[in-house]
């Protein structure tokens, strides 16, 4: 007794500990999860499934166009295919895949333990899944056939009475709610949950891009939500917003749609810029050149991106001063975009460039996106646009921006971050095969499409006569599309195989700069036991340097582990 009392008298620090629950497994754990990492993985898997579907639709179209006056597909099927392809790639792949990377990596990169609103985050994902389900459900009935822009009055019930357009409207609503909730979540997370010391000037550039992406989504999505609601009431509840026979305005649809549609382009490509701005410095072993210039260029592009929508409408009946305003606005965007490209090249300059697959995709992005940017300036000159708009030149341009641009960036991100997500590396050999097939396939497919447009071929036609060199050019493009598809399949196989059989990656296989590499791969549920104080844009570089210094000081050569040294 006496011994016990003397023990209780001794001052003992009060230890408070939570019971650690065993991690739940099985499919219910995925359905009910609110962990940003699991939600991120679900985003990535689902969006890549849609990427495969959209790609298959593209290949069917290329097969149809491989021969002049082909009868493989009828015009209805062809129109359905290009509508589904465009809608899938934009609303179900490129926009949400960026949300997938953002979900997984924004909290890790800013040293947070989850998103600000984990349940809202899960809701975002399931809204996306619902949107995809409603849209692809129409395959069993009547898919929409009005293109991803669904111009009124073609999309009104007089011309397309079946439910395809309605399925499209609900897709816009559901994926729109998904993105809007996700955007609010990203904004709240980035604004409030950064690691100590991570001021705005130390925010990783990918996080800057996701922040800007979120603001653009918050500004642009309500407009398209309003527009498709007006279309819905036009179709079913007797309004005439876009019906010219009742004083409605088809041009109003175009303005509302593109007021959303052009920011949407930057919504898709800015996070890609962010990925590139992370990958290039890591594999050049140099700090990013002009951090402030890149971060501010991101914001300036977003601002100007809100002011140029009518450059999609240069051929409509519009006064000259309107055309001039939107031409000059579009010119202005080229400046911050060019600044980014110059900064990336300058980051490579005098570095020691390591040709990993992630870097190959990143520089493949820079080289390809440059062409998309330059052809964008052609299209901004409105008299030139009068010849080029709605032809295959535009198809080529938008694929250089979104496929050669955003998708190459997504692949760079995939090869760069896969080891963090799964703990295993993707095969570099297979990755290189995939990269070269994709790069060559892409250029063969789309470079010639500029000439198709210059040779007089409009977009969205299911057949053409073999005048000029149309059939030859189309055949080149079709062959390229299959090479590109083969390259994508190699990466898909690489992913499926490496999840189980890849080389274990360890916490920091690339010697990264940002905080996601300061935890195990895959990270534990709580991400970090200790969040370090951030002193620069490259906190991991600081941490490694600190460890080197400490191990030099220590007499014993035994290298301390990352975490223990930080605790010390």
């Amino acid at each position: 007794m006496a011994a016990t009392t003397s023990e209780t008298r001794t001052a003992v620090p009060q230890v408070v500990a939570h019971r650690v629950e065993a991690e739940r497994t099985g499919w219910t754990s995925w359905v009910t999860t609110t962990d940003h990492k699991r939600i991120g993985i679900m985003y990535l898997v689902l969006t890549f499934v849609f990427f495969m579907l959209g790609g298959t639709e593209a290949l069917l179209m290329r097969l149809q166009l491989g021969v002049a006056n082909n009868t493989l597909l009828d015009p209805k099927t062809y129109n359905e295919l290009f509508t589904m392809h465009g809608t899938t790639m934009i609303f179900l792949f490129v926009v949400p895949v960026m949300a997938g990377f953002g979900n997984y990596f924004v909290p890790l990169m800013i040293g947070a333990r989850d998103m600000a609103f984990p349940k809202l985050n899960a809701l975002s994902f399931w809204m996306l899944a619902a949107g995809g389900l409603v849209f692809y459900g129409s395959v069993f009935f009547n898919p929409p056939e009005c293109g991803w822009t669904c111009y009124a009055p073609l999309s009104e019930t007089q011309y397309l009475p079946n439910g395809g357009v309605d399925a499209w409207i609900y897709l816009i609503h559901l994926t729109g709610i998904s993105s809007l909730l996700g955007a609010i979540n990203f904004y709240a997370t980035i604004a409030n949950m950064r690691a100590p010391g991570m001021g705005w000037g130390r925010l990783p550039l990918f996080v800057w891009a996701i922040l800007t992406y979120s603001i653009l989504l918050i500004l642009a999505l309500p407009v398209v939500a309003g527009a498709v609601t007006m279309l819905l009431t036009d179709r079913h509840f007797g309004t005439h917003f876009f019906d010219p026979s009742n004083q409605g305005s088809p041009l109003l649809w175009q303005h509302l749609f593109w007021f959303f549609g052009h920011p949407e382009v930057y919504i898709m490509v800015l996070p890609g810029f962010g990925i590139i701005s992370e990958v290039i410095p890591v594999f050049s072993r140099k700090p990013i050149f002009g951090y402030k210039a890149i971060a501010s260029a991101t914001v300036v592009i977003a601002f100007l991106g809100m002011l140029v929508w009518a450059h999609h409408m240069f051929a409509t009946p519009s006064p000259t001063f309107v055309l001039v305003f939107f031409m000059l606005g579009s010119f202005l965007i080229a400046v911050p975009t060019g600044v980014k490209i110059f900064n990336w090249v300058a980051t490579l300059w005098r570095g020691t460039v390591e040709f990993t697959v992630a870097l190959l995709f990143a520089v493949g992005f820079v080289g390809t996106f440059l062409i998309g940017g330059i052809t964008g300036v052609f299209l901004a000159v409105f008299p030139v646009d009068w010849q080029l708009t709605d032809t295959y030149f535009v198809v080529a341009h938008l694929h250089y921006v979104l496929m050669g641009g955003a998708v190459f960036a997504v692949f760079a991100g995939l090869y760069y971050w896969f080891p963090k997500i799964t703990g295993r590396l993707l095969s570099e050999g297979m990755g290189k095969v995939s990269f070269w097939l994709m790069l060559v396939g892409f250029q063969v497919t789309f470079l010639i499409q500029h000439s198709l447009g210059l040779d007089g071929m409009p977009r969205r036609v299911y057949e053409y006569n073999d005048v000029g060199h149309l059939q030859l050019y189309n055949q080149i493009s079709t062959v390229g599309a299959f090479v590109l598809a083969a390259g994508i399949l190699v990466t898909m196989f690489n992913v499926v195989r490496s999840v189980r059989h890849g080389v274990p990656a360890g916490p920091d296989p690339w010697k990264g700069n940002t905080l996601e590499w300061f935890t195990s791969s895959p990270p534990p549920v709580n991400n970090f036991d200790v969040v370090p104080r951030v002193r620069s844009v490259e906190p991991m570089k600081d941490i490694r340097r600190q460890i080197e210094r400490q191990s030099e000081l220590a007499e014993a050569p035994a290298a301390p582990t990352t975490e223990s040294s930080i605790r010390a």
Binding site: K76, N79, Y151, P153, L154, Y159, P244, S249, P250, R285, I288, F289, G290, Y291, K292, A293, A315, P317, P319, M327, L328, F331, L332, V335, V339, F342, V345, A346, L348, W349, T352, V353, F355, T356, L370, I371, I374, V377, F378, V381, F382, P383, V384, W386, Q387, D390, T391, E428, K432, W436, Q443, S451, L454, D455, R459, R460, V461, G468, D508, P509
Partner: protein, 305 residues
């Protein structure tokens, strides 16, 4: 350290793939160079049928020239830095974080290029936008019976042009020869699909649609102008005299439904005298058809008690 993958190892392994890439780039360049002469319109839009199409073509070529310089400069810098600064044993990356003067320099440089482009565009714009007077050998046109010029409607300096109302409908174009499209007389001559026009004559078009959005486009006669229901769009062309007898083809450029691919249009250029004969023939045909219809109506009304 021990987890670094094989691909991050020393550089020599990449020389082969780099050589491959260079060979590939060279092959593509040679292929393009060979394809150039083989295909006349590989790199530039179609033109030759009208001064506005020619002006667009020359504006396009100016943009293309600047684009090629920018393209070679930036891709060159990119490929150079990839080859020159690849990781080598013992190489130390320079820890540069930026260079304010350089960055301001290339921002201003990019802006200057765009100022030049804007200047080119404004210089070329009047020739593209504003129709000229008809040539001396053109159709003789009456004075001042036309609708006033509006924000998009332009008329030649002397106010005289041959006006055609272009009406898009799923999936055909209708052409009515009339000065005022909103109140075109019923007996105004018209045709479908093929528009016959005199050479050396400024032809102004009032473009609209009666159902969904379409887009008027004959590449050799200038750019696209959308036909949007509820709106009237305007453009013009003037076919030079030496092209009499030539037919220019084009097709609808705005997705308008399932048969969009087959909504074709053509413009036949003829001499002014043949044009007048054509109009007279169309008028006679219309009168004959009207009279035949009137007779039929009478017969039908007799049959119905």
């Amino acid at each position: 350290m021990n987890r670094i993958p094989a691909a991050l190892g020393p550089a020599p392994r990449y020389s082969r793939s780099r050589r491959l890439a260079l060979a590939l780039a060279a092959a593509i360049a040679v292929g393009l160079a060979l394809a150039g002469p083989a295909a006349a319109d590989l790199l530039t839009p179609e033109s030759g049928g009208s001064p506005n199409a020619d002006d667009i073509d020359s504006l396009y070529k100016l943009v293309l020239a600047i684009a090629i310089v920018v393209f070679i400069g930036v891709e060159g810098a990119l490929i150079y830095s990839l080859v020159k600064f690849r990781a080598r044993r013992g190489a130390v990356p320079a820890q540069i974080r930026g260079n304010t003067r350089l960055e301001i320099g290339w921002t201003v440089g990019a802006a200057l290029i765009l100022v030049v482009l804007a200047a080119f565009t404004f210089a070329k714009l009047p020739g593209i936008r504003n129709p000229p007077d008809s040539g001396p050998g053109g159709l003789q046109l009456a004075d001042g019976v036309f609708v006033a010029a509006g924000p998009t409607k332009r008329l030649p300096p002397n106010g005289k042009s041959l006006n055609v109302c272009v009406n898009g409908q799923q999936y055909i174009w209708r052409f009515t020869y009339a000065n005022n499209c909103s109140s075109a007389p019923l007996e105004a001559p018209y045709s479908y699909e093929q528009l016959v026009v005199p050479v050396n004559t400024t032809v102004t078009l009032d473009i609209n649609s009666q159902d969904v959005a379409h887009s008027w486009w004959i590449p050799q006669l200038g750019g696209k102008f959308d036909a949007i229901p509820g709106y009237t769009n305007h453009t013009w062309f003037k076919i030079p005299g030496n092209l009499a007898g030539k037919t220019f083809t084009g097709q609808c450029a705005e997705m308008c439904g399932r048969n969009h691919a087959n909504m074709i249009a053509s413009v036949s250029a003829v001499s002014p005298s043949r044009f007048e004969a054509f109009l007279e023939q169309r008028r006679a045909q219309l009168r004959a058809a009207d009279q035949a219809a009137a007779i039929q109506r009478k017969q039908v009304s007799k049959q119905i008690p």
